[in-house]
């Protein structure tokens, strides 16, 4: 009996000792991601935004920190170094970033760590700070900042596989996983330009929606991604939308094709799929399709596809444009699967075209009606008039009386006018071309 008590005592002691030596980090204590040195947030507000930041950090495996600095750091440091020090002091993961705001000195700073350096482009922090700065209160500003962060991460990273694996096959990863370790360059933009990402055909490196510029809200990004995924899986045909800040020397369709290929998009060995890529700086768009897409998207068909999404793009209605594009591709692939892809002779009219034709029909009907009514009644009216002055005397010319005594024709000069022929500016239609790797694709470029 005594031994039994001794055993229990030892067990309790062991447990107590274990608790004592266990690192704080293993106790899953809440992270501090919102640092309020200025003491402008209530505890409740601080808890709320911190919880939100924690959710984002957990969802995207990337710690999102916001620091409201007092400015006292300036005695021995600058805001950049201080931000780094604060981030490290918070004992967070290696992948994350900190946005610092020093109201006293009117400064702000952004520092990224680990994989965040590759994902977040140079311009993105400015947009995030703008989101914060636009709001009138600190709590609203921090909330807006977190909204922007989440929108960007949703578009560019996606929701990681909950299993924590990097299996990107269609069968196990419906939401799309992201390996961003090699996907960004030092400038912070997606690496789709000069350094192709080593890929294996069919192994996707990025989600099907890549919005590097943040054109879409988080909700829109989620909805569009789901749409692209659903269509892609149903048709076994990758449907991709990408937004990049700017192009390089390549035209948009080649840029799009390389982006598609180098990031592992495309179904099967033929890389069946299509991509619509926007470059916001140039307001260029490029469309490219591989594999089965060469049959799906005929030149005439691509012209029709443009009509579906381009009107929205021109009005900067990006979500509507991308959804129209996705639905269009869905329709195109389904049509091609019947053996008759959209081509000359079976291109349907868009609603706008039909409306335009109907209006033209109305105007032409009225115009022709007016012309006919006016013409007929005028001719009837003219029938009532038969008294006219006779201005010539042709009837009274004596037969063969015209005699030319002098007749000569002299060349004076000549001149040539030349006018430039209208160029075929129709960007639609598309044609086949080769990607940088030599793969055959079809596509076209244009402005929006």
């Amino acid at each position: 009996m005594k031994k039994r008590y001794q055993f229990l005592a030892i067990l309790l002691l062991a447990i107590w000792l274990l608790v004592l030596v266990t690192p704080v980090s293993l106790l899953a204590a809440p992270k501090t991601l919102i640092v309020d040195e200025m003491n402008v947030l209530t505890q409740s507000e601080k808890d709320n935004v911190n919880a939100r930041a924690e959710q984002i950090s957990a969802k995207y495996n990337m710690d999102a920190v916001f620091l409201l600095a007092t400015g006292d750091y300036r005695a021995g440091s600058d805001l950049t170094a201080y931000s780094k020090a604060v981030y490290e002091k918070l004992n967070l993961s290696q992948n994350g970033f900190i946005m610092s705001f020093d109201e006293k000195n009117a400064l702000w700073e952004f520092v990224a760590f680990g994989s965040a350096q590759g994902v977040i482009g140079e311009k993105v922090p400015y947009e995030w700070f703008d989101a914060f700065d636009k709001e009138k209160t600190y709590i609203a500003g921090i909330s807006a900042y977190l909204d922007s962060v989440e929108a960007f991460l949703a578009a560019n990273i996606g929701v990681p596989d909950t299993s924590g694996t990097t299996d990107t096959s269609e069968a196990t990863d419906n939401s799309g996983t992201t390996d961003t370790s090699g996907a960004t360059d030092s400038s912070g933009t997606p690496d789709t330009t000069n350094t192709p990402v080593p890929t294996t055909p069919g192994v996707r490196q990025l989600p099907r929606l890549v919005d590097s510029v943040g054109l879409l809200s988080p909700d829109q990004a989620v909805e569009l991604t789901a749409k692209l995924d659903e269509i892609s899986q149903r048709h076994q045909f990758d449907v991709v939308v990408a937004v990049v800040p700017e192009l390089d020397e390549r035209e948009a369709r080649l840029f799009a094709a390389d982006f598609f290929e180098q990031n592992g998009f495309g179904n099967g060995s033929n890389l069946d799929g299509a991509i619509l890529l926007l470059a916001t700086k140039e307001r260029d768009f490029g469309f490219a399709a591989f594999g089965h897409g060469l049959r799906v998207f005929t030149p005439a068909g691509q012209k029709y596809l443009d009509k579906l999404f381009l009107p929205y793009l021109k009005k900067d209605q990006y979500f509507e444009a991308f959804m129209a594009y996705a639905n269009g591709v869905d329709d195109f692939v389904a049509k091609a699967n019947t053996g008759q892809p959209y081509d000359k002779g079976n291109i349907p009219k868009t609603a706008a075209e039909i409306l335009k034709l109907r209006l033209i029909g109305v105007l032409v009907s009225l115009g022709v009606g007016l012309a006919l009514a006016g013409g007929i009644t005028s001719s009837w009216k003219r029938q009532l008039r038969s008294v006219y002055q006779e201005d010539s005397a042709h009837e009274y010319v004596r037969d063969d009386s015209i005699v030319l005594s002098q007749k000569y024709d002299t060349f004076v000069n000549n001149f040539v006018d030349k006018t430039a022929r209208p160029k075929d500016n129709d960007r639609g239609g598309g044609s086949t071309f080769s990607s940088s790797s030599g793969s055959s694709a079809t596509g076209h470029s244009g402005k929006y």
Binding site: K349, I354, L357, R358, I360, G361, V362, V364, S365, L366, V368, G369, L370, L372, A373, G374, I376, T377, W380, K381, Q383, L384, R385, S386, V387, Y388, Q389, E390, D391, S392, A393, H394, E395, Y396, V397, R398, S401, I402, V403, L404, S405, Q406, K407, Y408, D409, T410, F411, V412, N413, N414, F415, V416, D417, K418, T419, A420, R421
Partner: protein, 363 residues
């Protein structure tokens, strides 16, 4: 011989010229007399030889009436338009053939020159009335009530005085002409314009260009019933006036020649322009046309004048008494005009609208 009375040698009734028979006919005893027989009788009345119409200058001298030739001819003067018409005393005109107003004064015919030539009436009153009815046919915007013959006020056969000008035109005309050649390559459309100067000089002759010599008769109305076939013109004989009115000229040859010249110049320019061939455009730049009179003839040409009144308006129609060409402006039925316009517009627009919408639906 009292030829001017044109009494029938059989019954003493007033005889008239019959356009169908081209002879003089007595409406009372149906006696037919040839114009030639009347002419021979006319010649017997001749006390002095006729002056030859040799003058070809604008100073037209013309021929004087023979003694007794004007006897029995009356002048009817219209109070409204001042028109004067000539006829025998048996005509008894009740209204002016030019404006439809009542003729109120008569006087004995005198003065003016004797016509050189006359084209006798070939068509009679019945044919004029039939032509008027044909004139109404097929005119959808003519008021129905206007077609009612009851509105016809007067139908008169009138010999209208015309001056006939024979003219030689000498023209010198500079033309600017161009030839245009068009071709294209992949980048440009080219238009080569070669400019030429063309010069034409020469003569062209006109014969018997008619100008109405009466003020009261609308010149435009008379020009509208041209042309006349002057091959059928004959030497004037007062016998041809029997049963018809004749209008005295009150615009002399000098006043009339300007109108003939206008027409001749227009035709000369046109005729010479047709000799400048092989070009895409031809524009006359400098024109000099000199006209030389080749003779003037004073002639009476046959015209049927019909006057109607409707809605307080007078409508004058004219028919070429030789060829039957019928002219005359008609009133417009405005209600019918609007109604037809709306009907045609409605039906056409509705049909096209339906068709276009169906086509769009099936596109």
């Amino acid at each position: 011989m009292d030829l001017m009375d044109y009494k029938c040698p059989n019954c003493g009734g007033a005889i008239r010229f019959d356009p169908g028979k081209q002879d003089l006919v007595c409406p009372y005893c149906d006696t037919v007399l040839s114009v030639e027989s009347l002419k021979s009788m006319d010649e017997q009345l001749q006390h002095a030889p006729e002056k030859k119409g040799e003058s070809v200058s604008l100073d037209y001298e013309g021929k004087e009436w023979q003694e007794g030739e004007q006897q029995g001819m009356m002048v009817y003067s219209c109070n409204s338009c001042s028109g004067e018409i000539v006829g025998d005393e048996t005509l008894g005109a009740t209204s002016c053939p030019f404006c439809g107003n009542a003729v109120v004064m008569t006087a004995t015919f005198s003065g003016t020159l004797r016509p050189d030539r006359v084209i006798p009436f070939k068509l009679d009153k019945k044919e004029a009335l039939a032509a008027l009815q044909r004139h109404y046919v097929g005119k959808k915007l003519l008021p129905r009530v206007f077609k009612d013959r009851n509105h016809l006020d007067e139908v008169k056969g009138v010999y209208v005085p015309f001056w006939l000008f024979d003219v030689e035109a000498y023209a010198e005309i500079d033309y600017s002409a161009t030839k245009v050649r068009v071709w294209s390559d992949s980048d440009y459309d080219y238009t080569e314009t070669s400019v030429y100067k063309a010069f034409r000089a020469g003569t062209i002759g006109y014969q018997r260009v008619p100008v109405d010599g009466s003020k009261v008769i609308d010149d435009t109305l008379m020009e509208s019933i041209e042309p006349y076939d002057f091959a059928e013109a004959v030497d004037f004989q007062t016998a041809y006036l029997a049963g018809y009115f004749a209008n005295k000229y009150d615009v002399d040859a000098k006043q009339s020649v300007s109108r003939a010249n206008e027409r001749i110049k227009t035709s000369t320019e046109s005729a010479f322009a047709q000799t400048v061939v092989g070009y895409d455009t031809v524009d006359a730049r400098k024109t000099s046309i000199q006209l030389q009179s080749g003779g003037i003839c004073y002639a009476l040409l046959p015209v049927w004048l019909l006057s109607t009144s409707w809605n307080d308006g007078k409508y004058i129609f004219a028919m070429n008494g030789q060829t039957g060409k019928f002219v005359g402006d008609l009133p417009l039925d405005r209600a019918a005009y609007k109604s037809w316009f709306i009907k045609i517009l409605g039906i056409t627009a509705a049909a096209l609208l339906a068709a276009s919408q169906i086509i769009v639906t099936f596109l």
